[in-house]
Symmetry: C2
Subunit: 753 residues, 2 copies
Amino acid sequence: MNDRAWLIEEDLYSPEKELYWETVFALSNGYMASRGAIEENHFRPEVKSYFGTYAAGVFDKYNKEYQAIVNLPDFFNTDVRVNGEPVRMKRGQIENYSRSLDMRGGFLRRKFDFVSAGKGHKTRFEVTRFISKADPHLAVLHYAVEPLNYDGEIRFDNVLDGNITNIDFHVSGYQLRDEKYHFIDDDHEVRENKDGGGLLVRTKVTKHRVCEVIRCELREDGALKEPKTSNTVKKRFLSHGASFPVRRGKRYSYLKLVSVRTSRDGGADLFLACNSHSAKASQKGYERLLSEHKAAWEDAWKSADIVIEGDERDQRNVRFNIFHLIQMGNKNDPRVNVGSRGLTSEMHYGNCFWDTELFIMPFFIYSDPAAARALVQYRYLTLPAAREKAKKLLFKGALYPWMSSWPGHEQADYWEYANIAVHIVSDVIYGLMNYYRATGDDKFMLECGLEMLVETSRFWESRLTWSETRKKYVMNVVKGPNEYAITNNNTYTNWGCRSNLTEAVRMLAWAKKRHPKEYKALAKKSGLKDKEPASWTKIAKAIFINYDKSRDLYIEDDHILEKEPVDIKELKPGKVITTELGFTWDTFLRLKIVKQADVLLLMTLYRPEFTERQLRNAWKFYEPLTLHDSSLSYNTHCIVANELGDVKKSDGYFQQTARLDLEDVMENVFLGIHAANAGGAWQCVVNGFCGMRMAENHLEFSPNLPARYKSVRFRVAYRKNQYEVLCEKKKVSIHLVRGENPSLKIKGNRIET
Amino acid sequence: MNDRAWLIEEDLYSPEKELYWETVFALSNGYMASRGAIEENHFRPEVKSYFGTYAAGVFDKYNKEYQAIVNLPDFFNTDVRVNGEPVRMKRGQIENYSRSLDMRGGFLRRKFDFVSAGKGHKTRFEVTRFISKADPHLAVLHYAVEPLNYDGEIRFDNVLDGNITNIDFHVSGYQLRDEKYHFIDDDHEVRENKDGGGLLVRTKVTKHRVCEVIRCELREDGALKEPKTSNTVKKRFLSHGASFPVRRGKRYSYLKLVSVRTSRDGGADLFLACNSHSAKASQKGYERLLSEHKAAWEDAWKSADIVIEGDERDQRNVRFNIFHLIQMGNKNDPRVNVGSRGLTSEMHYGNCFWDTELFIMPFFIYSDPAAARALVQYRYLTLPAAREKAKKLLFKGALYPWMSSWPGHEQADYWEYANIAVHIVSDVIYGLMNYYRATGDDKFMLECGLEMLVETSRFWESRLTWSETRKKYVMNVVKGPNEYAITNNNTYTNWGCRSNLTEAVRMLAWAKKRHPKEYKALAKKSGLKDKEPASWTKIAKAIFINYDKSRDLYIEDDHILEKEPVDIKELKPGKVITTELGFTWDTFLRLKIVKQADVLLLMTLYRPEFTERQLRNAWKFYEPLTLHDSSLSYNTHCIVANELGDVKKSDGYFQQTARLDLEDVMENVFLGIHAANAGGAWQCVVNGFCGMRMAENHLEFSPNLPARYKSVRFRVAYRKNQYEVLCEKKKVSIHLVRGENPSLKIKGNRIET
């Protein structure tokens, strides 16, 4: 393997780029996360840092209705002093600097020599940190220290500071100390001891408790030593200090083990649990903890990696996206989902969107089906809140929220999204069916999926309107994927609705016939009446679809054809149109522009239902109108262009996607990794270049690789088996890696029953 | 004349209704205004009062873009003490109380006997106040005082307090001391002397200066006396105190003359102007000032009154509406317009709307054409700001603001109104043409009107979109009068646009032929090219109009027919739908409901362009869908119902209009008089019951009075003549009152050329 494509390296200390690196270097194991801020930066007001430490599912309310993921005390927060002089940029010199993310091993390592300003004392540091993939509650920080030209004293101050606040995204400058966004209660607890101590904080409204315990140990040339320690306790604040004499030529190791538990994990005494946990970790020791962590990452990569031969830059960009996707997964907790930036920032307050089902879940379905299952189950568990939302808006059944945290009440505060972007409902069902088709998870379908299908179908039935003019069911006042419209009969939405109704009827019929007991239980639980599926069939057949037969073209909605034509090139450069300018929303609505893939997205989702000619006609019509004012647009265009044989355009869109974050194309990576785009990059390669398509009972590949690629190799899970797929130009080789399901056969470019 | 229908009386002191009375008793001469708050209430924290004192056109910015009419120091603010005891409800007893607005004379009078709590001293008060209709800069407050059972001392404190703030409508409780809404600068000036003094304040951003000077005098049994005076000066604050001995059986008169001038009036030394003004007023004396004021009102009533024989309640309600309409007029200042609540509150920050052209201006056109001219001229003077708005939104020509103060920049902060309720443009032109047709004011048309027609036509040309599908010009993304829609091809808007273009072409042709010199000047000034009118003609012919030929029905817009049907009775009682619930805007948009008259309003505006059958078809279709969620809806329905012969329904809608404010139907009169509704009440009688219609070259009447009416009598100005019209059941008598234009003839129920 080529190591360069596994490493993301900062080789010059560049504090002005720190915010970018903090996102790129963010670490997470799905349970908790920490942005990649340099440990000592808490003590460096001259460097702009955005510290972010999160525990999945720990939200607090920032007003009566809406929640934000809470920025927790940063357990990596550490100050270091050499002979009393702080290790800071402006107080000395940094030499031989490098900071690198080892994506294969999932850890971050910083190396530098610090030459103190006063006495010229030179110290070599190697700082390693990781958030354990082997143990969700464990984070580890390790300083290897070597005094190069002096004897003296080194001091570490390990801080847990509950006075941190969330960022206020509404003001520029991204304040971290805005009291309005301080979600940590006065009611807290600090404990201290000679090895460290802990801080237990509580969120103000949701009353989650979060306990962080640190346990530190010092070694000299491998032998345990007792440093001189002293603790400072203030309100919501603990600092554990340790100082020790150092001698030239000796090697010192200072280890901080972090144990985190929250009230969401259950268990009464969080301190007790953390203390016992860190004691066990201490027994294992740093080297073993790190190797267990690396082994867990190796395991994940086996199923998730995409190996591209022929373009190192693409390889690294794709891998970077996959690295962050892996970090977003959490198969153990179906009460959390993937926020729009994963756990790498507070953007969108940590809420998830349709991004999950359309762009993120596919990656997990094929690389980590258990994590995908947790994401689908999240939608099942949030069904009660979706029912409440439907009722509040005078509809029946379940209307999923546009933005969702926990327990799933609507978190979007604009009616233009919260109330009318109803395609979220069929997007959720698309995710369910996509998961179900790939895994054949009948148990989940029977226990959870059917109820979701029933409740969403009820919603659609109440949301549609019978049009006497058209003699069809119409769907008025919706926002489709092209958010630059408030429109009627958005084809994406109507098609999704129809598919939702049809799948409900089909799966209910299947259950009734094949699993009568479970069907009966479902019917009882949901009060399902026989006439309901019958009605849904009737409605599904009569839903109005905007289609121009003479052109064999699907029309986006009732309005697009009559909008004011405009050259989109004229709009972009002058930035007359941008989502930032709220006061020209009407301009968006009036002009013949498409914000992001809409009809084309529909066609990729339900690909078998459209002919290639229809796809081509749609491409010719919509692609020139599309502004790509969303990171969710490029990957669809990459996939469609590839299928239509335009490898150059396909590659162009792929580059936009794959480079987006690591190369900071949108200049906003400091606000977090674009989770959906990361999934989109995976889709570009797998569904785009390698042409993977799933039909009802088979999976197939028809690669069309960029000329410079020799091959693309990756694994896919399908119906309890795992396969390795090797795509070379137009040739595909598939072989079984692991199998539980012998009824599947590999036939040419297909895996089928 | 029947006096009861001229008086609005509060006959029981009822502080809990004070906010209502403050609006009802608000006085204005168009230049300045004061809500009817009791003078002494400033010193009574136990009574909830909303003090409002305004000078037309004195706005300040409440943020970067938007302005509010400024609440100025209340010059009526007075504290009264009898033998040291304050004249307050809770400190004694009020007997023989009455407060009445004499609408005929335009003054407010309060009578009461105050029995002090301590010593039982009884004093008779008669407090009269008015804002002079004869002298725009003058306000007068007069206390007639009689000690009934004691000798002692009375003291007046006359306060000018610049620490008053505007109301914050966003919080409940209507705070008057919210610093955020304090528009009066630190930079101010106080002057004092033995008779009173003055306060000169400056608005913070707009830097208007406002000077209020008070001059007080005391009389005993008619003879001038010198009270003992003392002044208190604080920041932005003057209190002029006067005390004097009183004896049982004597009558005392304490007169406060108020002079107001602002920097908008021109003149360098505002104090000097006010002082000289109040000295002159003082020479005239109270009785003469009052009689001049009453004479001016009498004059106004002659032209504006409607005399209804047969229903005293209707008479009073209609007169009350006319009273406030008269108060809103200001023929001297075309830089001000009529706010949505006149000068009776800060609602909508004192801005004017289309209300002016459609509902308020008609009253002035027929009763006070000079005041109507000032309103049209206001739109001419704000043309530059309308040009700026069009440019900012990428259109050509002039786009008038939805909410307008001075100099006419958009004051609405929602794009759903500011940017897309573009019918405001043709509403302004409707007002212009309505004024022009009634007055024949060629001079105004040539000097101002043509330029408005040219610039608005240019706007429309750039706002329309050619539809290849329909082979027509369409108008997308608009809000019509039915504000429960964001729609395409709203018929009201498209019709108005077409009329605007057609009138522009017609008037330009007229000017070119009949006034070539003025035409040439206009063409030069506005850069008019010959091809422009030609293009407008072409466009006007090809504008898409929603019309169903098979039903001979005009359709409101592209969407209404396919909306979800709903029984509007179900909506109102549960208040599921109300404009207060912003988060269900989508519900408004989705349901087949009409907020307020839309197609029906169009038909009343351009009545000759529709057949009676079309009117009837529209009535049958729209009336059952209409929620009347606006005070601008009832009067249109009254007029249409009357024409269609449904006198009962017509009367029902009339009652909603006529009673709205005086009987506080909407329970929000404390927030001011609904100006458009007041004009609507006038329209109900004149255009509804009396069937007045204006065509290109005649004015006609076809009454259809409620059964209980014997007759309705009123005057109308038309083409430089004034007529008295007497409608009795179905008979009309018209006679000329004043005439300058002998070419007009009375023929039956018509006045024609």
